[in-house]
Amino acid sequence: MPVSSAPPATTPAAASKRVRSASLGALALGVVSCVLGYLVLAVPGAWFGAAPQLQWTGRELSLTRGAGGFTAGAMALIAPDATRTVVVSLHTTLRAQDYPVVAWNVTAIPDGVEAALLWYNDLQPSRLFSRPLTVEAGRIAPALLRADPHWIGRIDGLALVLRGSFAEPITVHGVAARPMSAAQVLGDRLGEWLAFEPWNGASINTLTGGADAQDLPLPILLAAVVGVAALAFAALARWKPEVLGPAQGSVIAAFFVAAWFILDARWQWNLVRQVEGTYRQYAGKSWQDRHLAAEDGPLFAFIEKVRAKLPAPPVRVFMVADAHYFRDRGAYHLYPYNVYFDPWSNTTPPSSAVHAGDYLVVYQRRGVEYNAAEQSLRWDGSPPVKAELVLLDGPGSLFRIL
């Protein structure tokens, strides 16, 4: 059907080419403006020609205060000293001007532990300078020192101070002095986005999308790129509606889907690495062997021994353990026995609720006392009940109530 008597201004192929060029131009503008904008905000020093990064592994550090040792290239901090302090130090000879950022690679810092950076320089060698460090998700965020008036001259020594109590070891993987050039900032971000995020207990609730702590999450960068590109293309389309107007929706949708796909490629890559790990851990095994190979393998093995001692279901079985995970997981492995456990807190059943013929499974639980001579069992100060020890296996035991 003829649409217009006016001669076409150009051929469809040429129009399509213009749309393609304009959309690519708008996209390039979005990428360049967003990346440059971020670098302006994030790069503290020279963008180019910076000094090489200096890096020390955990084994090159000294433990000045507190207790700890070395494990596979890292330092494991086991306990603080009497003043609840740990100090890890090293000697350096770096020019403060060249290295505006110090990044400690430390993991598993519990809540309540405070961190600080100490240093001294050649201008005031008798003075020790300090800067509090931010702890995020159990890690120490890189410290930007460029604006600190004492970060000058030659830095002759660095130290990390941790103050507070901790029960689980803290691992110091190393420390780096960073020049923070534009390339390094971009490299760091890329490293954060592509860091492997394996399944953990929180995965079912949330995904960080790479490293636990990220300076610039990828979704916000891509959203900004799409936003700028869409606005640029819309402006072009408004300027040249006869060429670009009808394609506006499709082009902006294409920007959006492309950005979505980039995020999805990162997610799929993470999934590929996860499946590879899952394959190595579980493939080719029976369901029982998979459980034995899982994180709770020792618990599962113990419960299998318990099941071998129990009569056929349904028997009432009480499960107690100090750790929330062991208590709930142990109960799960015990079904279809008629299991009782406290899913939320570390309590024990009232002794009045325990009857002859019931069983009690104890796994890593303090406060349970058994007198074998009198066949007397009590827990958490409750009145004793008559019981027989049926199984004692490592950290776990099984009692039959008499």
Binding site: M1, V3, S4, A6, P8, A9, P12, A15, W199, G201, S203, I204, N205, T206, L207, T208, G209, P217, P219, I220, A223, V226, E242, G245, P246, Q248, G249, A253, F256, A259, L263, D264, R266, W267, Q268, L271, Q274, V275, T278, Y279, Q281, Y282, A283, W287, H291, P313, P314, D328, R329, A331, Y332, Y335, P336, N338, V339, Y340, P343, W344, A353, H355
Partner: protein, 478 residues
């Protein structure tokens, strides 16, 4: 042999649901009309699985109520016979889309597209196939992993599978007071619905043994069914092949949805599927007023509380949409008034901290907005979904408030309002800081949000006025 039996067991609900929809000729004219050929077969296949799962678990409840042991024979044979009978009945009335079914592999492998669109179709298909393969590998190899799966869902599945019947689960007080001695069981959430554990029970029955990895095979199939439904619904709405595939991809690639497949065992994925399918059937009804759409929407909405306790609220979010669909003139005002009254009632109730669905209402003037923003916009849970929602709700506000989208918009706004209440007025707000609740609660609504965004984008694209170059029109005509 065991895995063949499992495969047949997994296919049974699919066949049953598909047969039922064929017998009902839903979607209307799928077997014969052009519109049906576009998306009807995908809709039938997708809806068929979810409907089949619900029928399967209802039948298992009936058997258990009647005192008949749950087994391959008692479950499989009657349902297989029913499916066969329905298929035979549908075939006599030419309601089975044989032609479309035969054409489906050809469309998938060699779509009637040209140039870059064909390449994009193939690449996206391969990408999705890889995604499903990876998720399936996780399901196949990983023993039951996420916490609530083994503390409140699979507990029931294990007991019911081993005993061959549904036995009651009671709370701790009742169990300690003697119900335990009388045969009642206890777990972390004894009042949770039976549907999800029954799916796991059926997988184990089909397999012939307990296996807490294999029992979760329905989860990847649910995601596949959801993707088929989204594709079918978008084709049905007039999107081209590639556009509909992109829509299905947007849903299937939502990371948190994928996590709930890979780490299967929670009820949230099924809740999301049933709710989304109910809302999409409702949307079809608002367009065509076909009673079968309404019946399907209603049945799926009624099934929501059988999956999770908040399902009753999710089902209720369809009501504002229904009011608008039935009363196009006064409906929007009535719904706005209803929202206002509901807000006042909630604020009044929140003064006294009543318990609703196990959660206490209370007014929190400092809800953790930061956690919400991180979960939606900064973390990897939803890719760019919430950016799109924010942008499109501004750009397309008028379109959302007009037919044909207004009723579906009302449903989604009701869902968002429900999430808002959950995050600000209940004790779940305390779980937002560590992201325990925020994303899982959002998961139920997310696929529908994607659908609404795609449908809105299509409306906006179609609405482009005629400042159209002669060249462009000439191209279109060609």
């Amino acid at each position: 042999m065991a895995y063949l039996a499992l495969a047949l067991g997994l296919a049974l609900p699919w066949m049953l649901g598909f047969a039922l929809l064929c017998a009902c000729d839903w979607p209307a004219g799928s077997a014969v009309t052009e519109r049906g050929a576009a998306g009807g077969t995908a809709l039938r296949l997708g809806y068929g699985y979810i409907v089949g799962l619900l029928l399967l678990t209802l039948w298992m409840r009936v058997l258990s109520f009647a005192g008949i042991s749950l087994g391959r024979l008692s479950i499989g044979v009657p349902l297989l016979a029913l499916a066969a009978a329905l298929l035979a009945w549908a075939r006599r009335r030419q309601r089975i889309p044989l032609q479309a079914l035969r054409a489906a592999p050809r469309v998938l492998l060699a779509p009637p597209l040209s140039g870059w669109q064909r390449v994009a179709w193939r690449l996206l298909s391969c990408w999705l196939a890889l995604r499903f393969a990876l998720l399936a590998a996780e399901v196949a190899w990983r023993p039951l992993y996420p916490w609530n799966a083994w503390v409140e869902w699979a507990t029931k599945a294990r007991v019911w599978y081993e005993l061959g019947r549904i036995v009651p689960f009671v709370n701790a007080d009742a169990w300690l007071a003697g119900a335990g001695a009388a045969g009642a069981y206890f777990d972390a959430s004894p009042n949770y619905p039976a549907t999800v554990p029954l799916l796991q029970v059926w997988s184990c029955i089909a397999l012939g043994r307990w296996d807490d990895s294999a029992m979760n095979w329905p989860w990847p199939l649910m995601l596949l069914a959801l993707s088929l439904c989204v594709y079918g619904a978008l084709r049905d709405a007039g999107l081209p092949l590639l556009g509909a595939l992109v829509g299905a991809y947007l849903v299937a690639s939502l990371p948190l949805l994928d996590v709930h497949v890979a780490l299967a065992g929670y009820a949230d994925l099924m809740m999301a599927c049933v709710y989304t399918l109910s809302a999409l059937a409702f949307y079809r009804w608002t367009l065509d007023r076909d009673r079968r759409d309404a019946a399907l929407a209603l049945l799926l909405a009624l099934a929501c509380p059988l999956i999770e306790l908040p399902g009753v609220i999710w089902a209720a979010t369809l009501l504002p949409g229904a009011v608008i669909a039935l009363l196009p003139r006064q409906g929007p005002r009535l719904v706005a008034l209803g929202f206002g009254v509901a807000a006042l009632v909630l604020l009044f109730l929140a003064q006294s901290s009543p318990l609703i669905l196990g959660h206490s209402l209370h007014v929190d003037f400092e809800p953790p907005w930061r956690s919400l923003a991180e979960a939606y916009f900064l973390f990897a849970n939803w890719h760019l979904l919430w950016y799109a929602v924010a942008a499109l709700s501004i750009i397309g506000a008028r379109r959302l408030a007009r037919p044909p989208l207004v009723a579906l918009t009302a449903v989604v706004v009701s869902g968002l309002a429900f999430l808002g209440v959950v995050f600000t007025l209940t004790n779940l707000a305390a779980w937002m800081a560590d992201f325990t609740a925020v994303n899982r609660a959002t998961l139920h609504l997310a696929p529908l949000l994607v659908m609404l965004c795609v449908l809105l984008w299509r409306e906006l694209s179609q609405a482009r006025p005629a400042a159209v170059a002669p060249v462009a029109l000439a191209t279109a005509d060609a």
